[in-house]
């Protein structure tokens, strides 16, 4: 029997976070923690001559923004157990100091598959990462595996 769910779940935004301010210090701290030395992210003078005219955050900085406190209770579940099955991230625009970042999340896809270990239902939740201008800076697809 195919997995059953309410089709209205798909595409419905279930959470929007409060804006989070991005500072130059936040980016510097992230770069230090990651061992990132690219001057476009770490050196103000070099970044001014670069393509963005200012320091920007490394692309992976987009995944540091946390989902809201109700995120996990809103993710549809199927069956008895599950786990985080990974993330896919698409980068669209740089994040700059002074940006205010929000995440809005919706269920993108629910599908079933079978493998060595049995049947699985995957729920893909897409978080859209936007700045204060409404520009999408990244999409993050969270993949959750459930055992039906």
């Amino acid at each position: 029997m195919a997995v059953e769910y309410d089709p209205e779940l798909i595409g419905k935004v279930f959470e929007v976070t409060d804006p989070v301010d991005v500072s130059a210090q936040d980016i510097a701290t992230f770069c230090a923690a990651m061992g990132e030395t690219n001057p476009l992210y770490t050196d103000e003078a070099a970044a001014k001559k670069g393509p963005y005219g200012t320091i920007v955050a490394p692309p992976s900085y987009a995944v540091t923004f946390r989902n809201g406190r109700h995120f996990f209770t809103q993710v549809p579940r199927f069956g008895r157990a599950g786990f985080d099955a990974g993330k896919d991230v698409e980068f669209h625009a740089p994040i700059r100091p002074g940006d205010k970042i929000t995440l809005s999340s919706h269920v993108k896809e629910i599908y079933e598959k079978t493998g060595r270990s049995g049947s699985m239902v995957f729920v893909v939740v897409r978080s859209t990462v936007q700045n204060q201008k409404g520009e999408v800076v990244a999409h993050i697809d969270h993949r959750f595996m459930n055992r039906p």
Binding site: Y111, K113, T114, G115
Partner: protein, 231 residues
């Protein structure tokens, strides 16, 4: 002229693969001495992209790229070659509970061929299901060499072939670029199209070929001479 094809591979169109087709073809060109295949068949999970056109990449790399599908049934996973619009209307490829016997029979009636893959694999292979249910009828061939097999799985597949008299094919089941063309199928005939592939699978001469490197003994963590010299 004989043709060697990897009959089972997944590009980034499958949700669990991150391998771009171009990277597969580039890897095959780089490793052609070790994996001398003439082309690959993309068998994306639970889907078939009728409109996808890979001619530019075929020309760029001088390799054949054919399209098929890997679907999921009550007897495990099955490769479907010669997918037509009639087939995709008849079967919902996204349904992981397709009736295997119906699939084998209907695909044949519509001019294609259904080949159960990795039969020795737990849960999604024929062997386990044959222990619980009657064997499928009208199966022509099964995949006995699968690049993703774990220890003993290909042996179980070979045993199935010996028991039921199936013909045997091989495919890498690659989801990663570096694993493409590790297993393949060698056809005696020249195969340059999906129609020719279906014809050869039904009537031609072919055999699975294994390009996986032979396993080497695991070296001791500390070599004897070093250990004995107090190094």
């Amino acid at each position: 002229m004989p043709t060697i094809l990897d009959l089972h591979s997944h590009s980034e169109a499958s949700e669990d693969s991150r391998a771009p087709l171009e990277a597969y073809l580039n890897w095959i060109k780089l490793r052609h001495q070790e994996r001398p295949v003439d082309g690959i068949v993309l068998t994306e999970h639970r889907q078939f992209n009728a409109g996808a056109d890979y001619r530019a990449l075929e020309d760029k790399f001088g390799l054949l790229v054919l399209k098929a599908s890997e679907v999921e049934t009550d007897y495990g996973h099955v490769l479907v070659f010669g997918v037509s619009e009639e087939m995709t209307q008849r079967f919902d490829f996204a349904n992981v509970h397709l009736d295997a016997q119906e699939l084998v029979d209907e695909v044949a009636r519509m001019g294609g061929v259904a080949v159960p893959c990795h039969p020795g694999r737990p849960n999604v292979g024929l062997c386990e299901h044959y222990g619980l249910k009657p064997p499928l009828e009208n199966v022509i061939a099964v995949e006995v060499l699968n690049g993703g097999s774990r220890k003993g799985e290909d042996d179980r597949s070979m045993e199935l072939v010996r028991t039921y008299g199936y013909r045997a094919v091989g495919g890498s089941d690659s989801h990663l670029v570096s694993l493409i063309a590790l297993c393949a199928t060698r056809f005696e005939a020249d195969v340059r199209s999906i129609e020719a592939l279906v014809r050869e699978l039904k009537e031609g001469k072919y055999q699975p070929v294994d390009f996986r490197p032979k396993r080497k003994p695991v070296p001791a963590a500390v070599p004897d001479e070093v250990r004995h010299n107090g190094g």
